[in-house]
Point group: C2
């Protein structure tokens, strides 16, 4: 572990914390470990983050924001609102499923982090349902969807697809037939949204 004698920034601390979490897991990752990885005293870490909880919260936010950004690109992409809604939901599911499948330990680590940071998760969900709202609004504008309250419809769609993005269901995502289950739910929801 080279001391990397750059100036100590919040950003560098966050990177080191992610690495320590990856290595040691959420239960054994300590502030002392983070400081050691950076070659500084743990007191210095506390100059940038008031508590260990604040540090973990910041890491959680960074991680969730990376997902949000990727999905946001679909909102403004081309295609009909139906296509974009399907693509958005599929991308969310795909992203989660691959994270959970490719590196289960890391995924479990972030599941612990999200469990202990309800506020940040709440903001993330508000962000995601906001993206969904924009797609649905586009659909009501073009007459493709019938939704008197697009924001409420967005939340309903998000809740109804929880099984395909909520970490609590991660175990199910590796089973055969999930893809069909996912498509069945999405088909049903899209039929509900489509105006008669």
């Amino acid at each position: 572990m080279p001391p990397t004698s750059q100036t100590l920034t919040a950003e560098r601390i966050l990177e080191a914390t992610e690495e320590v979490l990856r290595r040691h897991g959420p239960a054994k990752a300590t502030v002392v470990d983070v400081a050691r990885a950076l070659g500084v005293s743990h007191g210095s870490v506390y100059r940038h983050f008031r508590t260990k909880a604040a540090l973990r919260e910041a890491v959680t936010k960074r991680w969730l924001d990376r997902t949000s950004e990727r999905l946001a690109r679909i909102v403004t992409a081309g295609g009909s609102p139906e296509e974009r809604l399907r693509a958005w939901l599929a991308a969310l599911f795909e992203a989660k499923r691959h994270k959970a499948g490719d590196d289960p330990e890391l995924f479990a680590t972030y599941t612990v982090l999200t469990d202990e940071n309800g506020t940040v998760v709440g903001e993330h969900i508000a962000d995601l349902t906001g993206q969904l709202t924009r797609i649905i609004e586009a659909g009501t504008g073009s007459g493709a969807f019938m939704a008197p309250d697009p924001a409420a419809a967005a939340r309903a769609v998000f809740h109804a697809t929880g099984r395909f993005h909520d970490p609590g269901y991660a175990r199910e995502w590796q089973r055969p037939g999930v893809q069909e289950e996912f498509e069945a739910v999405v088909d049903l929801l899209l039929r509900g949204l489509t105006s008669p």
Copy 2:
């Protein structure tokens, strides 16, 4: 604790086990406790249940079956398929929400039990989706619903309403606005099921 000198049956053991679980919680409920509550030696309990796990599984099954039975009555009740589908989903949500709200500790106990008995839970879910299937079949028969594969539609409806019956979401059920969320999802699903 009176020794209640009746003959020892599986049924009496299950009742005593429920009581011990209620009193001590899932972590501290032992087979010795159950035997003591019945005034017998713990060896006698093992005559009726091969392992502690089998005993807990049987308790779990009993508990889930009680819910199934109540819901089954709605399947064969009067009213249109739409009405019965709404009533069934509402009854499931209501039952769970009240169990979780009225006695959170007991609910947490049964959540632990269901977590450790995936097979029994799987059968319970198959039972419930079977009930849903029968309602949806009635709807396709009368022309009220359009569902090429009623069983698949039933599973989709069940998955889409997971937020309102999966114990993992119990915390959310006490928040204001859940009822509206629930109705929004059910409305969307029913619109999706209803033939154009």
